[in-house]
Symmetry: C2
């Protein structure tokens, strides 16, 4: 059956224009039904500018408030009870939508997940997962920015959630998991990575194979299917990757412009360059799922373009087919020994309740 996705129409840097056109494009594929949540007059004006929804599976749901990039994530989610992002999450909680998508304040999407959708039983911190292209496939990296300060308990849960994601969504039967570090040797890394490494090594999993430490270049090498790190590191990895790729493309353009002959030859390579762009472009992927909350929540780049929103909506609808939440709940339960060992480590105290956790510690990008 066609899935329904609630889209925060007021979220991105260019909302609601980009959101409305992205929703129209997604609805036209017939793969998803979209509820545009936001300031109804503005959203409907945008819809009219683009010919209206016609007979498309698309509707508008009014929300009078907006959470901005400047808002404090968890405070905004609590206080702005009629914010588009919160209302979109409510639709998932109440069963009126199968997934929620937003290109708005990602910390607030994380807070909405905790406050509205609620954490899954056994998960202490939800995490954002991003898919990186490798030469032969893809690798999942988490956390991508939801949790700046992490403890080994959290990274161990990221490993379990990431392996579940890689199995269901990327189709890897026994995913290979690595902990991101500054070297392959055991003595490398920080207290956080070393403790996580020991926990994963000492508690072999039936779901995934733990490889040990991996380095920055392994993310792209195909050696691992799941890379685990704290959200500060994960966010840097994503942005360094974007920056390095843009710079290299810039260098290629510079070198080609240097000679007329090069320019002629380069014209012949336009189709090849286009295929490369499609493999690298985050817009093709659309958004990054928030794992560990009870419902499908997909977080998009603030600067998402129409194509990114369209693909995020289609991707969210597909994710909703997987029952990822149920699978993660089961996986965490199956790894009770590992999680218990992580909880027994010094420094582990009782966890704050869902909805409290983001208040001070999590400063998602």
């Amino acid at each position: 059956m066609i899935k329904t996705v609630a889209l925060d129409a007021m979220g991105g840097d260019n909302a609601p224009g980009v959101e409305v056109v992205g929703a129209l494009d997604a609805a036209r594929t017939g793969e998803v039904r979209v509820i545009l949540v936001g300031d109804a007059p503005r959203v409907e004006a945008e819809l009219s500018r683009h010919g209206g929804a016609g007979g498309l599976p698309l509707e508008v749901r009014h929300a009078s408030q907006v959470i901005t990039m400047e808002d404090h994530p968890s405070k905004a989610v609590r206080r702005k009870t009629d914010a588009s992002m919160r209302v979109a999450n409510n639709l998932v909680r109440d069963g009126d939508a199968d997934a929620v998508v937003s290109a708005g304040n990602s910390g607030a999407m994380m807070a909405s997940g905790l406050f509205v959708l609620k954490r899954l039983k056994g998960v202490d911190r939800p995490a954002i997962v991003t898919t990186f292209p490798t030469r032969d496939g893809q690798a999942a990296l988490l956390d991508m920015g939801a949790n700046v300060d992490c403890r080994p308990l959290h990274l161990v849960q990221f490993a379990i959630m990431g392996a579940t994601f890689a199995r269901l969504v990327h189709g890897k039967q026994s995913p290979v998991v690595g902990v991101l570090s500054n070297g392959a040797e055991e003595h490398k890394g920080t207290d956080l990575t070393r403790d996580t490494h020991h926990l994963l090594r000492e508690h072999p999993s039936e779901d995934f194979r733990y490889l040990g430490y991996v380095e920055g270049r392994d993310i792209f090498s195909g050696r691992v299917d799941v890379v685990v790190c704290d959200g500060f590191t994960g966010n840097l990895v994503l942005k360094v990757t974007e920056g390095a790729a843009e710079t290299l493309v810039g260098f290629i353009k510079d070198a080609i412009r240097d000679s007329l002959l090069s320019r002629v030859f380069a014209l012949g390579l336009v189709p090849a360059f286009r295929r490369v762009k499609a493999r690298m472009d985050y817009a093709e992927q659309g958004g990054a799922p928030l794992l560990g909350v009870d419902g499908v929540s997909v977080i998009c780049h603030g600067g998402s373009n129409v194509r990114a929103i369209r693909n995020a909506l289609i991707g969210a609808a597909r994710l909703a087919d997987f029952d990822l939440s149920g699978a993660i709940r089961d996986a965490v339960h199956r790894h009770g020994d590992l999680v218990a060992a992580a909880k027994g480590r010094p420094g582990e105290e009782p966890q704050p309740e869902a909805g409290e956790a983001v208040a001070g510690e999590n400063r998602g990008g």
Copy 2:
């Protein structure tokens, strides 16, 4: 006058072969005199295999021991008193060489810097600086892996040292300095980045302009001349950059191979692609200087090829022309208020003596 560089001939993954040929190539330029430090019979055999030193400015100095990648850095430097790396550092300390270069255990090079060359007055932790290419120039990033666990005091000193390096070596008159974080907003980052940010903001420098937080992509954007971070993060940035660039190049090759026509056009672009490779290739840069020790010390990638060793030797000779050590000592002195404020922060205790500092905490890559 031509500078003398002591090269640890036993250091890299392919030592002493790569080192010997790199030294020959460097000596042939006439820009540097090289002392090859290592197992004399083996080094001389390699030299003979490549036609001997002839009349080149190149000599061999015997050292009976080798520090391996498996050795504990500071223990090895203390115990292996006749190790090639340590003897090469001794030559700089004793004034018999102007700089030292090694592609061996980088943690041990850091320890040798502390133990043999000694820390500069006012510097608590030396740092490895790497130069990244930007569209229009270059940016210096430090620390690149010498110090995994850092405090704000260290990052503040990295800013001072990095600005001095950018001014002298990259020729930036008033370098722009940024602290690497997961977002531009002040509330982003970790306790470490926030404390560092406040210190740098509250104590304006006459040497550099402090921009604030920068993100991963800013390393390549040209917005900043100096990027400051802890060594765990810096090492990841370097390796993610290498991995992302290799992956993108692989994608381009895949796309070109997809069609015969593309292959024909690509042939015409070989010169352009070569220019791009030269801009990106770490081998062109050769090595990464260790800032904050009393002498010029350059650390090379373990997998350095002949070209990387050659360029590191020439680069080290040029660095020796700058009196970077004197300039860093002066700069740290000039920033007394900033350093004092950093030392006054909670958690700052008296520093370990030079030579002790690396024992437990620093696990350089």
